[in-house]
Structure formats: C-alpha cells, structure tokens
Amino acid sequence: MGVRVKLLLLLLSLPTSLPVLANSRFNMTPGVTDISRQVYDLHMTILLICVVIGILVFGAMFWAIIHHRKSKGAKAAQFHESTRVEILWTLIPFLILIAMAVPATRTLIAMEDPSQSDLTVQITGSQWKWHYRYFDQGVEFYSLLATLPQEINGSLSKAGNYLLEVDRPLVLPTDRKIRFLITSDDVIHSWWVPAFAVKKDAIPGFINEAWTRINTPGMYRGQCAELCGKDHAFMPIVVDAREPEQFAQWLAQTKTRQAEAKAAEQALAAMEMTRDELMSLGEQVYLRSCAACHQAGGEGLPGAFPALKGSELILQDRAAHIDVVLHGKAGTAMQNFDKQLALKELAAVITYERNAWGNDTGDLVQPGDIAAARQGQ
C-alpha cells in the first residue's frame, strides 16, 4: 500500500511542477503585453486541466492494467453498460468545457478590439520580406533577413540571432496602442511576434487588423507563420520597442533621412557610372535581391522561376527588361523593385543581368535611364 500511496502522491504532485515550466524556453512565452500574459495564463490553465484529466484517466487505465490482468488470475466481470455513469461522464466534461470557455472568451474579446489606437502601422508581406509603413507619417521601408547566405550554407559560423536578424527592424513605441493593418502583395503570409501574442495572416487584396501595447522596451523576434513558398523560413520579423520619446525622435530622424535620400536620388539621375562600377554593384544587388529565385548563375529554376541567362526578353527588349524589374509582373513572384532598390542599384543590377553569364548585350543602363523609365519614357 505504501508504494501505491507514494506513487499516487507523486502523480498528483505533477501538476504543481507546471509553474517550473513558466519561464523555461520550452514553454510558451508570457510575452511583454497584457494580452500575451492573458494568453499565457489561459494556456497554462488548459494545460493544467488536461494534465489532471490525463492523470485520472490514465491512472484508471494503469490500475486496470496492473490489477485486472489475467496472469494475476483476474476474472472478467460482465457488466457492459450503465446509463447513470454514461450520463455522468458526458455531463462532467461539459461543465469543465464551460469553465474553460469563460476565460477564453474574455481574452478573445479583449484581443479583437483595435479601437482607439495611438499609432497605425501598415504591414505588407511579400515573397520573402516585410514592408512597414507608418500610416500618418509616411515613413516606409522594407525589412529583409540580415543573416548571411554563408551562415546558412555553413561556410561561416552561425551568429546568435541566426535567421532572426533583419537589416531594418520595425521600431515601435512602448505604452502606446499600436494598430497593424496587414496585407500581402503576393501569396498569404502571417505576421507573428510571439512576445505580443499577435499572429495575423497577410492576405493579398484584403486587409486584416491586429493591435498590441508593449510594456517593456526591447528587441522582439518572430517569423512568418504561413507557408509562402521557397524562402518561407527566411523572412523574420524584428521589432525594436523603444520608450515613446525615443521612438518619436527616431521617427523624426528617419523621416528627414528618407527625404534627404530621395533628394540625393534625383541628383544621381544625371550621374554616369562606369561599366566596372555598375557590374560590381550589380552583382552585389543581384545576389541579395534576385538570386533567391533566379539563382546565382542566372539559370533560374525551370518550371518555377525563369532563367535570365540567355533570356529572350533580356537580350532583345531592353525597355521591357527595365520595366519588369521596376514594376514586377502581375500574378507572378516577380516583384516591384522600384520601391525596394535605389536608383543606382537598379541601374547596376539591370546592367549586370544584361552582361553577366554570357548575356553579352554590351549595353550599360545608367541611373538616368531608370529615372526616365519611371516616367514611362
């Protein structure tokens, strides 16, 4: 008997060990918002209920396995129904479910109320990057994976935030209600930051809303959660949450910087770059922005992404080549790079594509040509 009692006590004490999991990296994060905390509490409550039910049911099973075995000479009883018991174990789970539904409903209603927000951020997913735009301020930028390809293929050792590092994180203020307007440019993506308990699908042609209010400054990382093609694993989300004053400062600075960059861009239009300059910058841009689909050698992936090497469009129609790089191609994975790259980079990458891998067109595309093409000339 002693052993049995001890075993039972041990089993019953299991649920009390659950809080140990609380801040373990093997459990859901409590996050840094009130909502994420509520979600975490809900998760732990259901887990606890499930564990208790599990112990009772499996306990009864093992009791039967140990004590009611034929090898111990157990004789089988012949009962095979009991309406009372059956009604009882339909009703009890039902009551437990109601007890679970109450906190779940409360949390859900709190989650789905984006009213009275202080800041709106438009999030647009595309294969395989995120674009952020501060709705009222007009500040916008793309956010791309910053992990080096050499780390991924193993020729460099992997840094601490491997696959969770971007070139430009989304900067947000703490203690402000932030509303996200989420959509997509191509396929369905899903914007997920576990620390905020926000996961919302980005659907092409439709907008979705979500909101958060961050309690603590810090860097928070997430990933795209909906399969979106080849590089689904490589479009992380990084949020840099700052105190409201610091955030305001950052936003103002970024706004001026973006305006200056735009002005500088205009001046660039007149500049002539040499073939070497164009080709070397072009190769860098190509590897960063184009090689994921068209491959480093320009051979593409037959049946999925067209080859650029020996491409008829590139070799025969310069204007069409520039147009497709600038504006993308509707209904395909080919994006609009006009918004993503600087004038200089566009000129360089197009020149590179026209002259690399035996595409010997010999012609150079200058920033001025791109500026003209933008105006439809």
Binding site: S115, F135, D185, P204, G205, I207, D323, L326, A330
Partner: protein
C-alpha cells in the same frame, strides 16, 4: 438490382456534393455578408441615405495599395474622415499611370473590421470595375458613400482599403 440502385443513389449524392462545392462560392458571399467575414463590401450601388445621426462621429480611414506589375501611383484625396452616420461624403481616388501604353486596371475593396463592411453604403463606386487608363495619364475615380446608422456601437473607426491591380494581360487574353 437493389445494390445498383442504391449505388446509383450514392453516386448522385457524390455528384450533388461536387455541385455543392461550387455552390459554396456564392454561398460564401452570402455568408460573408451576414457575418462580415473578410470585410467584403457589397458589390452594388446603395440607395441614398435617409437620415443622419449627428450625435455619433465615426472615423473612416482610406488606404491604398498598388499591386505588383502596376506602373503608377494610386492615392486617395484624403486619408482620414470624421463622419456622422447617414452623412454623404465623397473621396476621390487618383490613379497616375506611368506606363507608356494604355492599361486596364481594377480596384479591389476591403474593409476592416469586417463587420463594418455591411454598413458602408457606396452610392457611387469604381470597385471591381475594369478601368481603362490611358498611358502617361491620370484619372480620378470618385467614391460617394455614407455610413449606415446600424453600424454597431463598438465600432468607432474602420478602414477601407483599395488594392489596384493592372489586369491588362488577362483582359487582352480574353480578347
């Protein structure tokens, strides 16, 4: 034979379910309209407003997106409006095409929260229509609307988004 008869009946049932799969397409729209799922706005012109409710003020935001493959800009005349339910308003959306040749475009609306979509009444709209836009030109597309008084009380703000697609290619293919 009884077996064959019953098998035939089951076969018909399967065929009916195949049809039901397609019937889900229009049913889905009805479903969306009832529940406000996915923020689909009604694809038809509403009658004018009857009366106004001056005690309530609702914020309507307008966002625009241009889809991949579109060479141009697409902007609303105003990004945010405060409206009373029942009050008529007009917002002009301007498309500026930088393409050298003529294009055909189409704007797809979406409303969030989805529930509000049922209470956005458009008396004049360009949604879903094919818009021929001449090369190197701008076109103004007006949208006149009012917010129905039935809008649930907890909605103080909603967003109307338009995504503009260049559909010249499929249109050309259609002939």
């Amino acid at each position: 034979m009884a077996h064959r008869k019953q098998a035939a009946r089951l076969g018909l049932m399967a065929l009916a379910m195949f049809g039901f799969g397609f019937a889900l397409v229009p049913l889905y729209d009805v479903f969306c309209q009832i529940t406000g799922l996915n923020g689909k706005t009604a694809n038809r012109v509403a009658a004018g407003s009857v009366s106004q409710d001056l005690s309530r003020l609702i914020t309507v935001e307008f966002v625009t997106y241009t889809a991949t493959g579109l060479n141009g800009e697409f902007e609303p005349s105003v990004r945010r409006l405060q409206v009373h339910p029942g009050e008529m308003h007009q917002v002009d959306f301007t498309v500026t095409s930088h393409a050298s040749e003529d294009r055909v475009m189409r704007a797809i609306p979406s409303v969030s929260p989805g529930l509000a979509a049922n209470y956005l009444r458009k008396t004049e709209c360009f949604c879903f229509q094919e818009q021929p836009i001449a090369g190197q030109s701008a076109a103004v597309m007006p949208m006149r609307f009012y917010v129905d008084q039935g809008l649930p009380d907890d909605i103080e703000l909603f967003t109307l988004s338009y995504t503009l697609y260049d559909i010249s290619e499929p249109v050309a293919k259609r002939g």
